[in-house]
Point group: D2
Chain length 343, copies 4
């Protein structure tokens, strides 16, 4: 059994992690910390865990956490980088579900996140936890930077095209839509149901923190410079991301469907739907899958890739468990074999 | 392995049954019938089943179904009673998720469902599949009538009070609210999102088919006649039932909380929350639990019981699987240990 | 033109008041105050007012407000009672949309609202602004206590029965359901869409502040003591209240439909639907109407009244405008002739 | 008073037209036809019209309709073209809210709508009813083709850029999102709340009928060929369209904000928000406005235009009333001065 600790278990990413871990056959949850809720039973805060989990939140304490085999950080940005160095030094492996270790360049991190990076050395060692890209390195990693939700959906949809050099990488467009749980559980007028229900809007069009993350991933596999327009939108639903991705073909792509099927053959969590499918976000509600549909409308030069994930599962906690499975030599799908809740 | 067939797998009850059965460790799904969709792969209709199920819908055929150990009917009312006699005669056990075998009195059935009962003999043998009431008889049953969704929520909330003779059974009120999936998946203008979204209403106040069913269950355990006012409402959400139950105390009830906790001690799927709790339907989304909160507002003579279930799970498919587990000697919770999807 | 000021215009009650007042033909809006937003243009906060309103929020200032003919308070409880005495003394009339002047008994107010009443003298003078009950007194009032949302829906549904002495007033039940805008626009984790979307629950069952208000209204017209069980619920939609009201007949009621139609004949905003109707909340979305449907299920002794309003309109701002029209001698429907937004 | 008839008043476009017309000061509604509902009072079908409209649906009858000054068609595609020739010949003016007269080329119409055009001569005379483009011709028109919902939102967002020749018209992208009322009120499993609630998806990516319509509008003002990728999506809400429009600059655009403000100066229903705004669909709920926000993310060469309308108002019935006002010499905003319902 893997002894697991969670730092910051009160947000939506935290409760999703708990939902997956309490039924994971190889995990022993030993500690869940929350400064604000210390002493309160976790299942009092999250009624769905009644009968599944008998722990109470505790104060975060590096010494106690060091006894874990693995610590997940489900904290606001800037927390994990304060505690990870000690934990890693103590032999504890770490998966950060926040953004602290996602951007390889500390200056770029500082520019987008508004604070200096606390441990640039460790940042250099961190592995970006997209198994479809970095599986071997994740297996060996001491510290995994779990990808953002939009970056997961966008990268999985664009990687095959960019890797094959088939598209003009300077004019990519990622028009992405997310359910409201992506904004977290903090008290915030802007996320009241009275504000976001029955309405739709874009946000952060001038610049969203996931832009450099997507660009970094694509640049890592592209022979040509990556120019990307990324527009996130808020959908009046709770879970789900839909990325609508536009790329201009720079060559005859041949059989696009085959390119994607071949790229993702054997991937347990990427499902390439039949040509010209329209994946629904509900088809991945609560599960770790990314489902992809491919289009070339009117046989013109623009490829449209539709990519859906659950932002809390493949976009956060599910992918973190997938990474854990890899790091600890388990079958990659262990504890991740649920069926999406539909309807 | 239990060889299982499903008749009528295209509705919401059907897909929920499939969601549970494809990961059930003791079930082999051998046949799923649908006249309308015969020949189509099930996972083409329900994208969440891609990768979990490789069957296609077939034409309903009693001979082929007779080879099953168990057949579930997830059909419109009036279908199961046509096919069940032959199946039972062939040694196949049957769980009907529709209403054909719920009312013990065939005349009452005819009155509420508008057709003569096709097999009153078998009706007499059928066991009402509420495990919390009929567990031993379900174990031995050849034919189980799976309870309705409202009747499950209402009965579990009222049984302890009625069994103990603590309340005036002539003035019970069940004010119940259901998500829209309870209305099924048939094309119906009244259930379009444009019609039911962002609105709330009562329906069938003059008389709903679940009224005699709830009354029958309560009458079975009551020493006094049961008078019940039942008002169902439609909530603009997909899953969940919330029953708000009102009963006038006819005696000093002593410790009400203890009455309920004692009644449901050992019940794996009934969770009595701490006194004066307000259960949320999301706390049971996708799981087989009923969660109950007890109140006695202003210390007056009216007890208010709040009872929530997922109408498709404990209110339909989950309870059917629970009944199957009982009928085949499995642990009652087998395949039903998921955690509710929250948020 | 009536010179109107609004204190506290940033909440949902405030913006609804503005929506109605900017197109009211007899109103000149001269001041909208908000400590938090002072200096900001109102239409920057509420995009729907762009082009309709050119004012900025100002600091609340009694002297400036005193120049108004009428001041609306759309503030948290406890604010209006601090400022109303000076305004009234200055000759300015006041409508309070909060609860400060709703309960006639200052001790009861203190008990339910947790603070001493600041002006019991003025409280004694205040008129409860339910036009269907107090129209003549509202016309003359200097200070109107605009009713709560639940109390409006419940009272309009129960008044005819109680006034006629037809029902057992000791066992009334008001099972009420509200959209989330009733909880206001304050930052509050419990009202995030991630928390309240796709879920349903009761709240405040032990005791809600609208309980004594409904009881007071009914007691005022009842010859017998009023015992009321009031259970509010939260519906995952933005606007609308549905009250499901249960009353035991204490006599042969004769033609119930006629009782209601006669009681509300000539009422511009109460619409008694044909017998056994099921009103939808969307049928009053954005308008000042209350629509009522009457039932006597299974011809038993329990009458069920279904009463719907828009909590922000007839349940708050619309009723306030109706009261203003009465106070200033205008036709009661002036500025309130919109058609509900459906779908 | 304009004597107005409506053919096909039972769908969402029809009820929206009624909502606007029953309070329009210059309109006398004389006939509303529906084959399916003939004889039924309109306000029985649409409860929001109770007290506002006393008509019953009648059988469609060209002779009776000819007595109107104006007939609106709120019918399925293919109906208006059967009846419009007789009506126009009889001196009755016509506004078709369906697609029969939107595409100028009858062969293209046949290709996209799957039937031969019934009156190509009249098609040639029809005016495309986008007032911001064709105001003078609409004033004189006998027959107006009311634009589609997506085409209205997309065209208003792109027109200034294309008219000025500032962008590469061969690589335009219109990523559009619509509430479910755009799919109409026909019984359709795919639009049940159980199917589309809490989920998001694209549809018709290979080719949607609004593609040629948008292309035609833009081509009419472009000096260079128009290549457009149009991807519509379904949002789990009832009303609203959000168009996210991407265009590559082909020259230094100077002050983009000024270009749009100047283009729409004096337009009563186009509201250019301050630079870098994010318009919400709720800010136009129930009103005839289009609100536009402009962005140039990261100062790169891609302009992003955000354009929101209510699909039933500016995207259908509201624009039809605007066209009527123009055709009959009324002030363009008559009867269209409501404030959007927010929240």
């Amino acid at each position: 059994m893997i002894k697991v600790g969670i730092v910051g278990g009160t947000g939506y990413t935290g409760v999703e992690l708990l939902r997956l871990l309490v039924v994971h056959p190889q995990v022993a949850l030993v500690q869940i910390t929350s400064r604000a809720e210390a002493g309160r039973r976790v299942s009092d805060l999250y009624g769905n865990l009644r009968g599944h989990l008998d722990l109470a939140f505790s104060e975060p304490d590096v010494a106690a956490l060091s006894a874990c085999d693995l610590v997940f950080f489900a904290t606001p940005n800037g927390t994990a980088m304060q505690m990870a160095p000690q934990l890693v030094a103590a032999g504890c492996r770490v998966i950060d579900l926040a953004a602290d270790f996602r951007l390889r360049d500390p200056l770029q991190w500082e520019q987008w996140y508004g604070m200096a990076h606390a441990c640039p050395d460790l940042l250099e060692e961190a592995i970006y936890g997209l198994p479809e890209l970095n599986r071997p390195r994740i297996r060996e990693a001491r510290l995994v930077a779990n990808p953002g939700c939009y970056p997961t959906a966008a990268a999985l949809g664009l990687l095959p095209l960019v890797e094959q050099g088939m598209v003009d990488t300077s004019t990519l467009v990622a028009d992405c839509k997310s359910g409201v749980s992506g904004a977290g559980r903090a008290a915030n007028t802007a996320m009241l149901m009275g504000e976001v229900g029955e309405s739709f809007k874009a946000y952060s069009v001038p610049g969203h923190r996931h832009l450099p993350e997507i660009r970094q991933t694509l640049a890592g596999v592209s022979a040509t410079p990556v120019g990307l327009t990324f527009v996130p939108h808020l959908v009046p639903m709770i879970r789900g991301i839909h990325a609508t991705l536009y790329a201009r073909l720079s060559m005859d792509p041949g059989d696009l469907q085959a390119v994607f099927e071949s790229r993702y053959a054997g991937e347990p969590f990427v499902d390439v739907l039949p040509w010209a499918s329209h994946p629904e976000t509900r088809s991945v509600r609560g599960v770790n899958h990314c489902r992809i549909g491919l289009h070339r409308p009117q046989d013109a030069d623009t490829v449209v890739v539709l990519s859906v994930i659950d932002n809390l599962t493949k976009g956060a906690a599910g992918q973190a468990v997938q990474n854990m499975n890899l790091m600890f030599g388990l079958a990659e799908t262990t504890g991740l074999d649920q069926v999406a809740l539909l309807p």
